[in-house]
């Protein structure tokens, strides 16, 4: 099925193309266009990649290569909110893995998997080490998390969602 961008996304892409004129092509906009395609179509299906390729006059193979390099792009459907739980060294030293496991239990899925509402990601350092262990969900940071806090966090996110697509 051929996909399209909304008028808003098309306007955003057109404006961005003006910011990289020295490139001589629309290629520098590919990350932004992929973020937009993921926002509007939920994940980057083959058709979504074709849409980006067509919009920016790029080979499909190039767009595929870029989309599969960066960890925030997903090729499969996933929950609307992404919990990025850090387990890197500063968080690990203060119980990050226990918190990740608590999230797994609470959501009933393993790291890397998704429920309808939440994608659970074991994230590398999110640059909030002073508050370890920590997680980021869209624009919202959770600090000094204890395993017992995860129920409260999930409830809070259900009541006041922070999908990453909000930022795009």
């Amino acid at each position: 099925m051929s996909l399209e961008f909304s008028a808003d996304a098309q306007a955003k892409i057109a404006a961005l193309c003006e910011r990289y004129l020295a490139a001589g092509s629309k290629q520098p906009v590919v990350l932004a266009a992929l973020h937009l395609a993921q926002k509007e179509h939920g994940h980057l299906s083959d058709d979504a990649l074709k849409l980006v390729a067509r919009t920016l006059d790029l080979p499909y193979a190039h767009v595929y290569g870029v989309a599969t390099f960066y960890t925030m792009f997903r090729r499969e459907p996933a929950g609307t909110q992404t919990i990025r739980m850090c387990t890197n060294i500063s968080c690990m030293l203060r119980g990050g893995y226990d918190v990740l496991e608590a999230f797994e239990q609470k959501l009933g899925v393993k790291r890397g998997q998704s429920t309808k509402d939440f994608q659970l990601v074991e994230e590398e350092c999110i640059a909030a080490c002073e508050y370890a262990p920590c997680a980021v969900v869209g624009t919202k940071y959770f600090h000094d998390i204890k395993p017992g806090d995860v129920g409260k966090i999930i409830d809070e996110l259900k009541a006041s969602p922070h999908p990453e697509s909000e930022v795009v």
Binding site: L31, H35, I89, I126, A127, E130
Partner: protein, 442 residues
């Protein structure tokens, strides 16, 4: 006069929510230095920055003024790119700097762009920093609205454009040439150097890539002079130093401190020491890429040159009796890196911590160079079985040999960044690894 514990250059507005808006920033003196800078000749700004001994705060500690000086004089088009892709584990300063004081970064960038005669400039911000991306976008928009950015800034005839570019999740994009490839819309794989970006960078044009904290120091240097900034520091390192302290300390945090402060002082006096009556076992001095220090090495200042040359820091070994060679017989002690200090107490599981660091590098290797792509994967696997108590008697030699095979043999420094801590932990905490292996054999 050297900086003291109260000297704040880049963290002065921390905690001041109003300063995030352009009105609040201007109220605290913001954008006043810009007017002064725009009246200066680009060469004079460059000379002040050279005199300041400002060194890159992203990790390498290279002299910023010298880097700027590498741009060819006859360049037709130059770009300035701010590296806000902070993702070195243990480092959490740039995210806060952007969040609390986005206009200081923008003002620093406009001054630097003027000094470099750079028109089209970019901030590359890490994809996961979504809150900070929105803060920056709003601040850039405000700066355009006030005429600080645009075709003819403040009526001076000088054009400075600034675009915020979001990444999408890849540690390697903090490496400056990978960052440029990512900005150009490609996979974030590093480029072979030379040519260096200052000669051939973004879109083939001379490009300066500077860290957030580095650029945020520029307004103060232009306001008070390079000599003043230089005197704040120590040796060949001007200014203050932000450290991010995490792990086993009573009060973790991000602190702007005098350049010459020792690790012991940071841990004991600034961060309230190690809690639960425990002692320091290991300290990662500047992000996980840097070889660790042990408790006997903590009286060294947290300064770029000291960490590389102070003889109180033991050299990293490949194996007992064989010193690691950085090239030309130069030994590796440690480096100041990104300022990310991680403290591990005497109950910490050193092999497990080492495994977690190796897992990180295996995950983040871009896959371009064989020694790194394959080697980091093997480091992770072998370190894991040692940490899990399933190590073999030959595993420490195997880890050393893999790490040694990666170091120096890759296009970018990610390979070294994995090899150095592996060898560093083996050098200084060998007994911890041996104890796990002995247990496995029993």
């Amino acid at each position: 006069m050297p900086a003291d514990m109260t000297t704040k250059i880049v963290t002065a507005r921390f905690g001041n929510d109003a300063a995030r808006t352009i009105a609040g920033y201007e109220k605290t003196g913001g954008y006043s230095v810009l007017r002064k800078a725009l009246a200066m000749k680009p060469e004079d700004i460059q000379n002040e920055v050279k005199a300041s001994n400002l060194r890159g705060r992203g990790g390498a500690g290279f002299a910023t003024g010298v880097k700027w000086g590498f741009v060819p004089k006859d360049a037709k088009q130059v770009h300035l790119v701010c590296n806000a892709d902070e993702s070195e584990p243990g480092t959490c300063k740039d995210r806060l700097l952007v969040f609390w004081d986005p206009h200081l970064l923008i003002e620093g960038m406009i001054i630097a762009a003027h000094a470099l005669k750079a028109v089209h400039n970019y901030i590359y911000i890490r994809g996961e920093m979504m809150r900070e991306y929105l803060v920056l976008e709003a601040a850039v928009k405000e700066a355009y609205g006030k005429g600080y950015l645009g075709k003819n800034i403040l009526g001076t005839g000088i054009e400075v454009q600034l675009t915020v570019h979001r990444g999408a999740g890849a540690y390697i994009c903090g490496e400056e040439t990978a960052l440029l490839n990512s900005l150009e819309g490609m996979r974030g794989q590093p480029r072979l150097k030379p040519p260096f970006p200052a000669v051939k960078g973004l879109f083939g044009n001379p490009t300066i890539v500077n860290n957030v904290e580095t650029l945020m120091n520029v307004p103060a240097i232009i306001e008070k002079g390079g000599a003043w900034f230089n005197e704040l520091g120590m040796g060949r390192s001007g200014g203050t130093r932000i450290v991010c302290v995490s792990g086993h300390v009573a009060k973790p945090g991000v602190f702007e401190l005098p350049m010459g402060i020792t690790f012991r002082k940071i841990i004991d006096e600034v961060c309230g020491g190690v809690p639960n009556g425990r002692k320091v076992k290991a300290v990662i001095p500047g992000g996980v890429s840097m070889p660790p220090l042990d408790d006997s090495e903590l009286d060294v200042p947290c300064e770029f040159d000291a960490l590389q040359t102070d003889e109180r820091i033991k050299p990293v070994m490949v194996r007992p009796g064989q010193q690691f060679d950085l090239g030309g017989g130069r030994m590796l002690r440690s480096m100041a890196g990104s300022g990310g200090i991680v403290v591990l107490d005497d109950q910490a599981d050193i092999p497990k911590a080492t495994w977690r660091i190796m897992k990180f590098f295996a995950h983040e290797s871009c896959g371009q160079c064989t020694p790194c792509r394959e080697g980091t994967g093997w480091l992770e696997k072998v370190a894991r079985r040692v940490a899990d108590g399933n190590g073999k008697s030959t595993d420490l030699e195997l880890l050393a040999s893999i790490a040694h095979g990666i170091a120096g043999n890759t296009i970018c420094a990610l390979g070294d960044a994995a090899a150095w801590p592996m060898l560093g932990f083996l050098t200084k905490f060998r007994a911890d690894f041996e104890a796990k292996i002995k247990k496995a054999a029993a």
